[in-house]
Amino acid sequence: MRSRFDEQLLLLNRKMIEMGANCESIIALVAKALLEGKADVAENAAPIGHEIDLMEREIEGICLKLLLQQQPVARDLRQISAALKMITDMERIGDQAEDIAEIITYLSGRTESDCDDIRQMAQACIKMVTDSIDAYVKHDLSLAKSVSEYDDVVDDCFVRVKQMLITMISENTADGEYALDILMIAKYFERIADHAVNIAQWVEFSVTGVHKQE
């Protein structure tokens, strides 16, 4: 009975890592498309987003089965409940990456590669998602904490992008639609970073049993 439980926990772990890997790849794909001005990214991003949605259902199923059939306690219970919360955040990351991909198609090839803040934001997001999943994989508390701290970098970037857009509009160097699209993209990146922070906090919870509320 217990060995079956252990097996199911391992399976849960595997699926979580796979889902994390999918999140990483979709963000990397979107960021690359944004910086290189590839308008066809939505087609490539959609299957990964769909895969992430499917995995959310699957992991949910595994978690509920574990909770019902095995009545886990202590650390195992924490791991499973943290997983249940984390997949929601991962699913949101996948959805928002898809949304960015959709906006990129509206940009029709215009790139923001010359804007350092957007690039920095995209890279920071990739780093945060990667780190939060790494923290989960390695049960690394300090890495999880560093993710929460790194959120400030993304927030600063967002503020700078916003200011840049305000100047652009007031000086009439950018049309309104374009500026709004860029703002949306920046906002989505900022949201993705927040979800990464959430994941990191659930990792902390699964290790220590204490969930930090801001």
Binding site: L10, N13, R14, I17, E18, G20, A21, N22, E24, S25, I133, V137, K138
Partner: protein, 548 residues
Amino acid sequence: MTKKIFRSILIVATTVLITSLLIATSFLYDYFKQSEITQLREELSLAAANVDRLGSEYFDGFESDVFRFTLVAKDGSVIYDSQAKPENLENHLEREEIKEAVETGSGSSDRYSTTLTERTFYEATRLKNGDILRISISQATVAALILGMLPAIGAIILIAIIIAMVLSDKMAKSIIKPLNRLDLENPTENDTYEELTPFLAKINKQQQQITKQMKKLRQKSDEFQQITASMNEGLVLLDKKGCILSMNKAAKKLFSANDSTIGSDFLTVDRSVSMNNAIEKALSGKHSEFREERNGSEYQFIISKTESDNETTGVVILCLDVTEAAYAERNRREFTANVSHELKTPLQSIIGSAELLENGLVKPEDTGRFVGNIKSEAQRLVSLINDIIRLSQLDEDKKPDFEPVDLYEVASETVKALSPIADKRNIKINLNGTSCTINGIRRYLYEIIYNLCDNAIRYNKDGGEVNIDIKKEERDAVLTVYDNGIGIPLEHQSRIFERFYRVDKSHSKETGGTGLGLSIVKHAVACHNGTIKLDSTPNKGTTVTVVI
């Protein structure tokens, strides 16, 4: 085993006890019967004497539970019976013991009495008056006697069984004791039951075999470890669940893993989607291969499953660093594309001019220009092919022998050869320095200086200046060619030594040149184990320093 021995001993002891009791009882039964009959006879003779003396009155008031007396008349009719009414009884003359007594004076028999439904012993004797006196006793009395002994017998059995239990427990333990004390590590050194010797010998043999095989296995795994440890390629072994069995040094470095990751899921080490898919594909029996960037280098991952007895036991991942190979491949592809393009361009122009001439579309006064055009393009083609031949010569490993060469002399020769072109564009060539003899290949050194100077002149402004410096620094010769020409933009500086790479992407013919010059220089310098340093500022000039 102790239990089994204990149980066996107990069962044997109990069986023996009960059997012997039974046998003893049956003997006792006979003895009791015999003594009963004797008693019966004594009683009878006593009673007979009394009846002889007193007649049937003897029985008046007679009471006996144990014995039954019957007085039978000569004719067989019962005169008296101590337990039944005489008138109810039939004629007894036909009874065996009566018959016997009538004939011989005494008789005995035992049979089932139909009246009392018990086995009964009978003794009869003839009285003096001819009547028969019979005495009988039922067997129940014998049985009762034995029954009386039962509690005693039970007690004996109980005590005997308890003693048997204690004893058999001790015996069983003492039998087992040597077995428990067997030293299985050194089976042959035991002093125990003879019957166990074959087993111990067998165990000993198998132990030796196991030790030998373990040693062999350890050697094999050591060999494997050593081979894989010194490999440049990363090698990872996974079991069929995807857990890491072993990883060599290169793989650990590549996946930034350590010893503690061995045994954990490979996903925790590398979770890239393509890797995961490839492993799954390999597990389902298909060989898979893919390329991906890791830590800034390009790697080729070859994944195939391992099998044993037709069963998938896991997966092997081989990681090859193909950065250089990929770079070389890209270069080769570019080179081929460039060569065909470069060769085709002059030919197109030649064909075009020739066609116009052929169709008579050229005015006679222009014919000379067209033919000149064809000639110059053909010359360009030849010089291009020459360059390619020279490059491929340099690519060959066969190097001409080194000889002492005076660099200054070579340089002055070059200046002489190039001065007509330089004069045409009003460019001044200055050669400074002293004679400097080095070991080298004269032709290659000439190529170096020629190509550098040629470039310096070609990419210069009219009225510019080219300086050649030759110095000797310790054991090296330093050749510096600098000009004040158009310079090379920073983003092109890293690539100008590639074949056919030209800053001016249009491959214009205006300046001439094939795009192979600097490539030849690079190769020639490499042949002399030298180094090239490029320092250029756009619109100010370029300095190329070659140290040989």
